[in-house]
């Protein structure tokens, strides 16, 4: 779109909730941004349909008091994010306005604060030479943002080959000062500042290629890392009924994951959950660097009571910020809670526009929209050979807890890791409630990941994981048999099969997210405990009757659980390990 085009004006002619119909006097583009003049405040809106000279816009604010005849001015560009140093540690609304610099306790309509601090000076260091070639995303220089090397890049909007004409000397600059001048083959000069704009609904493609993911992304959550690992540049989703622990899961991952940058999109969810992040992240330490978690985190908060159109925008804003940092060669983790709310926002608009509905009244193109969004994640090789990645994990809130609904089904087609939260596990307080049998990680089948896992953890690691899964599956079968035939209707061996899986469930799958020690389990510790439970499972035991099995394993589990609660390899840890050895010794067949 041409930014210099004369801006079209229009007048409001119809209002249905946040859908406003505007009579326009000139050209408008689909998804163009417009501002409705309401008293002193311009209300931001986006064109979502055009019929003749009527533009249908979704307003990112409450439309209370809006009247026909009010003036609208179109901006000549799409919904854009402002990208530059100073994004980290900030709390934005869905349209990337800084929530902290807004005035008052209540949100005010039309109060649009800048995304970046325009006054702050950043200490710039050039990374390129005048005369060198540059394309979109080329690294021109660097500033330190919370100790993270923040690359200043050639604007993503550039097309074709450019040459660096001049580059600012090392020194302090604001985000709007020119730090470089680029020229195209015909000598047209483009001044470049640290801040740049990018339309959020378009993917940033400033990289060379996107390989298949091949590296584990450690989260410290055993049931993920060990059983169904997520990878750098991978995609995953967590569907589950309410109360099954989706948000606790996501928070645990956002705190512990091995990422340089974490972008959290709180999309149409509870405000108190976002407040938890605001309150805790500035206090908590990043387990990987020892610095505060907030230093690597950006939060996009569009809580459920904030305008619904901005909710749709929020996930795109978050993805664009993630792409920006990926282009710097960083490992970005993007979390969206919940993508169902985003889909519902689409449904509300589609409904107001009286489109023919698809399944459950969602728009027909919902699967396409979802798969398009997930495809923006991934690990990439940048043009300078460095790698950067976006790992994306979204939660899904299936209506009625039923996984056969459009959002879950559409997501299942594109996300490669599936973490099914089970109501049954949640009810019996087996947290995290990820069902070990329903869930999967497709990445575990990738030879390139298997190779790195076996190199990094243990030579036959993938086999051990398979072994764990087999024991769990056999345990489930045994438990069904016991339920049908009764405790005394099955052999003692069946009880043993069941209890071996219980050991794995209690010690590897279950994890106390609220216990300081147990909350995060590093890979080395996970390996140790996996070996321990496999050792228990492989120990030949003898029992006189099935009644002895239950109390025995309760003690085994109690000892192992105390190990989980103790600092790794501490005196306490070893004490319980010894206790376990003695308990096993009581029944061991030599």
């Amino acid at each position: 779109m041409n930014d210099t085009a004369q801006h079209t004006k229009g007048k409001v002619s119809g209002i249905i909730a946040n859908l406003v119909i505007v009579q326009v006097d000139g050209p408008v583009a689909q998804n163009e941004i417009g501002f409705i003049r309401h008293g002193g405040a311009p209300l931001m809106a986006e064109v979502i349909k055009i019929i003749g000279d009527k533009a249908y816009v979704q307003v990112f604010e409450s439309t209370r008091g809006l009247q026909p005849g009010m003036e609208v001015e179109f901006a000549g560009h799409l919904l854009e994010a402002t990208l530059g140093p100073g994004i980290l540690s900030r709390n934005y609304d869905g349209l990337m306005h800084d929530l902290d610099t807004m005035t008052g306790i209540f949100l005010k309509r039309g109060e649009y604060t800048p995304a970046l601090d325009l006054e702050k000076k950043w200490s710039f260091r050039p990374l390129a030479q005048p005369g060198s070639p540059a394309t979109a995303g080329s690294w021109l220089g660097e500033v330190k943002e919370n100790n993270i090397p923040h690359k200043i890049m050639a604007p993503f909007k550039l097309e074709g080959q450019y040459t660096i004409q001049s580059l600012a000397a090392p020194g302090d600059y604001t985000v709007t000062e020119t730090i470089a001048v680029l020229a195209d083959s015909r000598g047209n000069e483009v001044p470049v500042a640290m801040a740049q704009q990018w339309p959020v609904k378009r993917a940033v493609k400033a990289y060379r290629n996107k390989p298949r993911p091949f590296k584990l992304l450690e989260t410290g959550v055993r049931t993920i890392d060990t059983l169904n690992p997520i990878v750098e540049g991978g995609t995953g989703f967590i569907p589950g009924p309410f109360g099954s622990g989706k948000t606790v899961m996501q928070h645990a991952i956002s705190k512990q994951a091995e990422a340089d940058i974490v972008v959290v999109a709180a999309c149409g969810e509870r405000a108190n959950e976002v407040v938890e992040l605001f309150t805790e992240f500035p206090e908590l330490d990043d387990p990987w660097t020892g610095r505060k978690l907030m230093e690597r985190t950006t939060i996009i908060a569009n809580t459920s009571n904030m305008p619904v159109a901005a909710r749709e925008a929020s996930v795109y804003t978050a993805m664009t910020i993630a792409e920006y940092y990926r282009s710097m060669g960083l490992k970005v983790l993007l979390l969206a809670d919940s993508t169902s709310r985003w889909a519902q926002a689409l449904r509300e608009m589609s409904n107001r526009m009286e489109e023919l509905p698809g399944p459950d009244a969602f728009p027909m193109d919902l699967p396409a929209i979802i798969s398009n969004f997930y495809s923006r994640a991934g690990i990439v090789f940048l043009s300078n050979g460095q790698t950067g990645s976006i790992t994306f994990i979204g939660t899904v809130s299936p209506a009625g807890g039923n996984l056969k609904e459009p959002v879950t089904e559409s997501t299942k087609k594109v996300a490669r890791c599936f973490y099914a939260l089970s109501q049954q596990r949640a009810d019996s307080k087996r947290y995290p409630a990820i069902d070990p049998i329903e869930s999967y990680s497709k990445y575990l089948e990738y030879p390139e990941l298997q190779k790195t896992l076996n190199e990094q953890i243990a030579p036959d690691w993938v086999n051990r994981v398979e072994e764990l899964k087999n024991i769990l599956l056999r345990g489930k079968e045994a438990s069904e048999q016991i339920n049908i035939l009764g405790d005394d209707g099955v052999s003692v061996d069946t009880h043993l099969v069941f209890w071996r899986s219980e050991v794995i469930d209690s010690i590897i799958l279950q994890q106390d997210a609220f216990d300081e020690v147990d909350a995060r389990s590093p890979m080395k510790r996970q390996k140790y405990m996996v070996d321990k439970v496999l050792e228990v499972a492989a120990t030949e035991l003898s029992f006189g009757s099935y009644e002895e099995v239950n109390p025995f394993f309760k003690r085994v589990i109690a000892a192992l659980r105390q190990m989980n609660y103790s600092e790794f390899e501490s005196e306490k840890f070893k004490k319980y390990e010894e206790e376990l050895r003695q308990i096993l010794g009581e029944r061991k067949t030599s």
């Binding site: 209002i15 902290d100 306790i105 459920s304």
Partner: protein, 440 residues
């Protein structure tokens, strides 16, 4: 409501449905209040000069030449300290024979709190009911509904919680309350001598259903006044939110909107969230806590109303009759308070989280044992003990007629653990075992 001088009066209504009418008018704002033949109405759609109004009291008897007057503002409530102790209808007009309230006029359904201006809820609300305080602790600034079948005593429990909760103000939003229940609330509050700290907005089953859409907004506007201006701890009771959602679906149906799941409007989640998210803890000390009721049909929580509610609220409380002990209990499996983690073990004794979890786990073992028993299998010694534990746990802790402090609840739980189980079976951190285990 009085009309003022120089207001334009329209008298040509072009369309009338059961809940809405459409009139040609200009200069009208979205969501503006209007009077149609003396009945309150609100603008829900504008198409050029065609303005669609939702008539709260219904359109029965409205003629096509009825007078339509626009009021130039959204529905409002006059707020002030004089609200305390009073009963109002859905429009904020007194129904208790008292005088009209004078005060600042505020539009209802106002803007949301900036999330960064919220404070993390951290203040415990004690109710004396162990099923709540021990297992599902409530916190100021929380929003939580009772998911209940219509025959359960949810209004009684709610009134009890409200009176014990030590709130500065209690705001009752009665949405389609039966007259009997309305009088029940009135009596309970009066008998407790608590009337001076209670404000009620009531729509009974005798009133038109669409009026119900106003009640929660009225109640929460009053709540916001006391929490923001007076820094008070406000408890808002909304009963029954299912009838609110039903009113939403009536209007959306009359406006020919495409229904989504269970004939509910596609915007149900946002509509409910806008209300529930008024629950907040402010920096300055004021707070709004919302306890609501969502009635279920046949216990079905997958219906769109409880389902969307569950995704919005911070947990839910279930009541159940425990036939073993013949008492109504707070169901420990299905109930959940999401904010309890912010206070348990921090504002309460350190062993609280583990004791709570262990007790529920053992109670679950008892449930398994009962299934075995029903299927005709023999019980192990452990099963027998679990069953006995469950009975006492139900009687001494889960029953809603229990009224003890949290410390006592924990002691009772430890006592029961030691009576029926070994330390390994209870499986709590050793530090706590050493401190609290009571050998018989």
């Amino acid at each position: 409501m009085e009309t003022r001088a120089f207001q334009r009066i329209y008298t040509k209504i072009e369309e009338i449905t059961k809940a809405t009418c459409t009139v040609r008018a200009s200069g009208v704002g979205y969501e503006e209040l209007a009077m149609v033949a003396g009945r309150e109405a609100q603008v829900v759609k504008i198409m050029g000069d065609q303005v669609t109004l939702q008539v709260f009291a219904g359109t029965e008897g409205i003629p096509t030449n009825a007078e339509v007057v626009f009021m130039g503002k959204a529905p409002t409530l006059k707020v002030g300290d004089a609200l305390a102790g009073r009963f109002f209808n859905a429009y904020g007009q007194p129904i208790d024979d008292g005088p009209a309230v004078e005060g600042e006029e505020r539009e209802i359904g106002g803007p949301s709190v900036n999330p960064v201006r919220r404070k993390q809820p951290s203040e415990l609300i004690t109710t004396g009911i162990a099923g709540i305080d021990l297992n599902n602790t409530l916190v100021t600034g929380q929003k939580i509904p009772f998911f209940a079948d219509p025959d359960q005593p949810f209004n009684q429990v709610m009134a009890m919680v409200a009176l014990r909760a030590k709130a500065d103000k209690i705001i009752l939003g009665g949405i389609g309350l039966t007259n009997d229940d309305y009088l029940f609330f009135r009596n309970v509050f009066e008998n407790a001598g608590a009337l001076h700290r209670i404000v009620s907005f009531v729509n009974t089953t005798e009133d038109p259903p669409v009026e119900r859409l106003l009640v929660p907004d009225m109640a929460l506007t009053a709540a916001e006044y006391f929490a923001v201006e007076k820094n008070e701890k406000v408890l808002a009771l909304l009963t029954d939110m299912t009838l609110y959602a039903d009113a939403l679906s009536i209007v959306s149906n009359r406006m020919d909107q495409i229904p989504s799941k269970d004939s509910m409007p596609g915007s149900l989640y946002s509509d409910l969230a806008k209300l529930y998210e008024k629950a907040v803890q402010f920096e300055a000390g004021g707070s709004i806590t919302i306890i609501a009721v969502t009635t279920l049909s046949g216990g079905d929580i997958t219906h769109a109303i409880p389902d969307n509610t569950g995704y919005i609220t911070e947990g839910q409380l279930f009541l159940r009759r425990d036939t073993e002990v013949g008492k109504v209990i707070v169901d420990p499996f299905r109930s959940l308070s999401r904010l309890k983690q912010l206070v348990i073990g921090k504002k309460t004794r350190a062993d609280h989280p583990q004791v709570m979890n262990a007790a529920v786990r053992l109670y679950a073992d008892a449930a398994n044992a009962r299934t075995k028993l029903e299927n005709g299998f023999d019980l192990t010694d452990y099963d027998e003990r679990a069953l006995e534990f469950a009975r006492e746990y139900s009687r001494q802790l889960l029953a809603i007629d229990v009224n003890i402090d949290t410390e006592k609840m924990l002691e009772t739980a430890w006592e029961l653990f030691a009576r029926y189980f070994s330390q390994a079976e209870v499986g709590i951190k050793q530090e706590f075992m050493d401190q609290y285990w009571q050998e018989e």
